[in-house]
């Protein structure tokens, strides 16, 4: 089985972002970049499927030349090779889905698995848009994936618990946090990943226009909360909740 895994390069999610003073974007100076955490679950799931029943895991990342680093990190986790679609343009999810659809047509995989959302834009859009554009079924927020007989049975994380859905392959699946436990890359794998094939192409090479349907006009700070107070005892806490905040 061939599995295509789109991966995104994101600023370290554990560092609070600083906005540029003119609101035009985020100040990334001194910030390190990582593989989007949800995409690591997608890579792990794909690698486990291939380890069990054969095939290959192919990564794709879209962005500047820096994304090669992101791809190498993913290749060290067990993927065989990768595509780097180089562009300096900021693409929205609709444009990303167009690019992924072009790579999908080059590769004809049996399955696409990616993270349920990227932790920078928090959009949660591109995978479902890709499925729609390719007219493939989808199973988002996967908790458990079982494959067999040209079908996938997927338990999905939903409000209030789980549901179970059966889809035909090929299909698009997005990974949620309990799907698996992503492995750490060992040094020999990191060294090996440096020699794995990364095919660099431009949007023109793929023949996609990648037209964004949305545009971010500006970013602003959310309203800050008023400063709170430290109380000295449980008694004082309950008193304040009853008499000042009036919430008990």
């Amino acid at each position: 089985m061939k599995i295509l895994v789109p991966v995104r390069r994101v600023p370290n999610p554990d560092i609070k972002v600083r906005l540029k003073s003119d609101g035009s974007g985020v100040d990334t100076e001194g910030v390190n970049f990582l593989v989007n955490p949800f995409d690591e679950y997608a890579i792990e799931e794909a690698v486990q499927i291939v380890e069990k029943s054969g095939g290959e895991v192919v990564l794709v990342s879209i962005g500047t030349a820096d994304c090669e680093e992101t791809l190498r990190a993913g290749l060290a986790l067990g993927a065989l090779r990768g595509w780097l679609v180089e562009t300096s343009e900021v693409l929205d999810s609709a444009a990303i889905a167009d690019v992924l659809a072009a790579v999908y047509k080059e590769e004809s995989p049996d399955l696409v698995i990616t993270g349920k959302q990227s932790v920078d834009t928090d959009n949660n859009q591109a995978a479902q848009m890709l499925a729609a554009k390719l007219d493939l079924p989808q199973a988002c927020f996967a908790f458990k994936v079982e494959l067999g007989d040209g079908k996938a049975t997927v338990e999905r994380e939903i409000d209030g618990g789980l549901d179970v859905k059966e889809i035909t392959l090929p299909a698009v699946i997005t990974a949620d946090l309990r799907l698996n436990q992503p492995r750490y890359a060992a040094l020999p794998q990191i060294m090996k990943a440096k020699r794995k094939e990364v095919k660099k192409v431009s949007l023109g090479d793929l023949g996609v226009e990648a037209k964004s349907a949305t545009k971010i006009l500006g970013l602003s700070q959310p309203p800050a909360r008023a400063a709170g107070q430290i109380v000295g005892s449980v008694e004082e806490l309950v008193d304040k909740l009853v008499n000042d905040a009036k919430v008990l």
Binding site: F141, L162, A213, G218, V238, V247
Partner: protein, 312 residues
């Protein structure tokens, strides 16, 4: 300029987020219709006919009796094509997050996730775990969006009676709904609760979780969790509050043993009153708390419960 609101039915019940989504359509302005799909949608349409919509559409046809993103997106796309809506919105529930981007893909429409407000023709939404608010422009004839329910107070009936009509359902046999496996709980839903008591890494074990649950039950509150607690298997995933879990904004949020990682704070910082109980006085949760108590939750909770019982 008109909007289609997708109201949500699950197991024949109208979900509360539907009322917040109607409020968002009213805040956006212009005319709106409502669409409900699935078993129970005829009754749901009846319940929503006095909320100011032009027409309330529904379908209980076999093709859409149970939710799949595939059949629902096709059915919505067909209605959008027929009626020429310029916006489609649904609550940012797991169903909205699953289906609306697929609809966007079918329609070639730009999408805005988690809309919290409108600025003229543009949309406001949080990014980077809520640490930035983006103003987003949509450049396609139709805009599709999910709306964050905590940003819009539930709509109330506004008088008048909408037309009620059946929509044409479109199926997709490559995707099949099998079953729900929902968590059984007698406590209120996270989204609907006015008080939430939440457990973090500091709540080390099942006994700690029991203490948090006991306090929640005394207050008639919902139980929430940080990711660490869910990863440990101490509480189910659907109780996870945060950037990638549930976004909540109750009247009172009591964080027990929660450090306050960026991802957790993103899910609860719009709560009206935040209480943090944590024995580490350096914990970042105290930066967003209205009332902070530096204490071990295991000692503080029993005392808290005693004091509350004394005044009730």
């Amino acid at each position: 300029m008109s909007t289609l609101v997708i109201a949500e039915i699950r197991q024949s019940e109208l979900r509360a987020s539907s009322y917040n989504t109607i409020a968002a359509a009213k805040a956006k302005g212009g005319d709106f219709d409502i669409l409900l799909l699935g078993k129970g949608s005829a009754a749901g349409a009846d319940a929503l006919k006095e909320f100011g919509a032009g027409t309330v559409y529904y379908s209980e046809a076999d093709a859409v009796a149970e939710y799949t993103a595939e059949s629902y997106a096709k059915t919505v796309a067909a209605l959008v094509g027929e009626k020429g809506y310029t916006a489609v919105m649904m609550g940012a529930t797991t169903t909205g997050k699953d289906m609306i981007p697929r609809l966007g893909g079918l329609l070639g429409a730009g999408m805005v996730s988690d809309v919290i407000g409108f600025d003229g023709a543009n949309y406001l939404r949080p990014m980077f775990a809520g640490n930035a608010i983006a103003t987003v422009e949509v450049n396609t004839p139709v805009a599709v969006m999910t709306v964050r329910e905590t940003a819009f107070d539930a709509a109330a009936p506004s008088g008048g009676v909408s037309a009620v009509a059946e929509a044409t359902a479109v199926g997709d046999d490559r995707a099949k709904f099998i079953e729900y496996r929902l968590t059984e709980s007698s406590r209120p839903d996270l989204g609907a609760a006015s008080i939430i008591v939440s457990a973090g890494r500091g709540v080390k074990d099942a006994d700690g979780v029991k203490q948090v649950e006991a306090l929640a039950d005394l207050l008639g509150a919902a139980v929430g969790a940080s990711r660490a607690v869910v990863d440990e298997g101490l509480l189910p995933n659907d109780l996870q509050v945060g950037q990638t879990g549930k976004i909540v904004a109750p009247d009172l949020y009591i964080a027990c043993g929660i450090s306050g990682a960026i991802q957790h704070v993103a899910g609860m910082k719009d709560s009206k009153v935040i209480v943090a109980i944590n024995k580490d006085e350096e914990a970042p949760i105290f930066e967003v708390a209205d009332y902070g108590l530096v204490a071990d939750f295991a000692k503080a909770i029993p005392e808290f419960m005693e004091k509350v019982k004394a005044i009730k």
